[in-house]
Amino acid sequence: MTTLKQTPSQTLGPFFAYGLTPEQYGYAHRGIAGNTLAVPGVPGEHVRIEGRIFDGAGAPIDDAMIEIWQADTDGNYADADRDEAGSTAAFSGFGRCGSDDDGGFWFVTIKPGAIGDGLAPHIGVIVQARGILNHAFTRIYFADEADANGADPVLKSVPENRRNTMIAARSEAPAGPVYRFDIHMQGDDETVFFDV
C-alpha cells in the first residue's frame, strides 16, 4: 500500500532542446549528456547506432528526444549502488539525442555486453516527443546476436512477427560497424513498446 500518488506525466513539448539537447542547435548551455557516449580508448567494440523516428502517417518526427541507457562491454552498468558489479570503464552508459528535420538520430557508443539473467545484449531506450504524454520504453537488440536473441526472455515474450522492430541490422562502414534502428510509433511496423 502506497502513501503518495505518482506525479502525472506530461509531454516534453516542442521546445526542450535548449535545456536538454542544447548542443543540437548550438546553445551555450551545457547538456548533461549527448549522443557521443564512447570516446577513443573506452574498452569494447565501438559502433554507431542510427535511425529515424516516424509517426503513424509515416512522417518523420522532427522534435523527438531519444535516450539510451546501456551496460559497458562487460555487461556492467555505471551505477554501483544498484549494479553490484558496477562498471569501471570511463563510460557513463547514458546518451541523449534530439531528432533532426528528417527524424534522424544517432549515437556513437560501444556494443554492450550481456548483463546476465539470460538476456541478450541490449540497450534500453526512452522515446519522447511533442505529442507524447507518457514516454515510451523500448530496447535495441543486435542482429549479429542471433543465438542470444533466440534465448532472450523479453524477445520471446513478443509476438514473433514484431521482434524485428527491436533488432538493429548491422552493416560495416569505413568508420566502423553501424546498427540501424528506426522507430515507428504506429503502423504496420509499429515498434514494440513496453509496460516497464
Binding site: L4, T7, P8, F16, Y18, G19, D79, G131, L133, R139
Partner: protein, 235 residues
Amino acid sequence: MTNNPYRPRDWHSHPPSIYPDYKSTVLRNPKKPLIPIRQSLTEITGPVYGHDAVGPLDHDLTKNAAKNGEPIGERIIVTGRVLDEDGRPVPNTLIEIWQANAAGRYIHVKEVHDAPLDPNFLGAGRFMTDESGQYRFITIKPGSYPWGNHVNAWRPAHIHFSLFGQAFATRLVTQMYFEGDPTFAYDPIFNSIPDEAARQRLVANFSMDLTEPEWAHAYVFDIVLRGRHATPMED
C-alpha cells in the same frame, strides 16, 4: 543495496497515450498494447550524476544566462521535495527544468510566437536534490503562450520538469503549473489527465511561509516518483 523492482506506472494518475483533443497525440503514440516485461538491471539501474554535474548558477535562471542585467519579469522561488510513493525522499537525483520567459516566449530557434526574447534569460536550469529530496530554483514566472492546437489555444503558464529518480524505470517528464491560472479549463494537455486530483498534483501552490520579504514569491511543487515493490526480484 536493494534491487527490488519498481511498482508499475499508475495509469489512474497518468494521461492516456492518445488524447484526441491534444491533436499531436493521435499519430505519435503506440496503438498496439504495451508489452509487460520483468524489470532487469536495465530498468532498475539508472544514470548517476555527481554534484559536479551541476554548476553554482545552474539553479538560478535569473543569473545563469544574464548578459548585462537581470531578466524582466516576476522573480519567483520554485521549491519542493522529490519523494517516492512510500514517502521516502529521493536524494541526489538530477532535475532539469526549462520554460518560457515572462512574455511567454521560448528561446527555441523554431519558436515563432510574437513576443520578445529577453537577452538575460535562457530559461533552462538544473538542480541535484539534497539528502532530504529537496530542490530549489530561482526563476522568472513564465508567461502563457499561444499554440496551434485549436483556435485561440493558450497554454497555462508552466515549467517543464525532467527527472531521473534512481532508475531508468522511474524517469519522469512533466509540467508544473501555477495556482489560479485562468486557462486550465481550456488546455487539452493539462486536461489529458483524467483524474481531477491527479491534475491538481501538477499545480504548484503559493507559499507565504517560503516567500522572501522584499525579494520573491515562493511556489511549492512536490514530485512523487514510482516506489519499489517490497520484495526483491525473483531469480
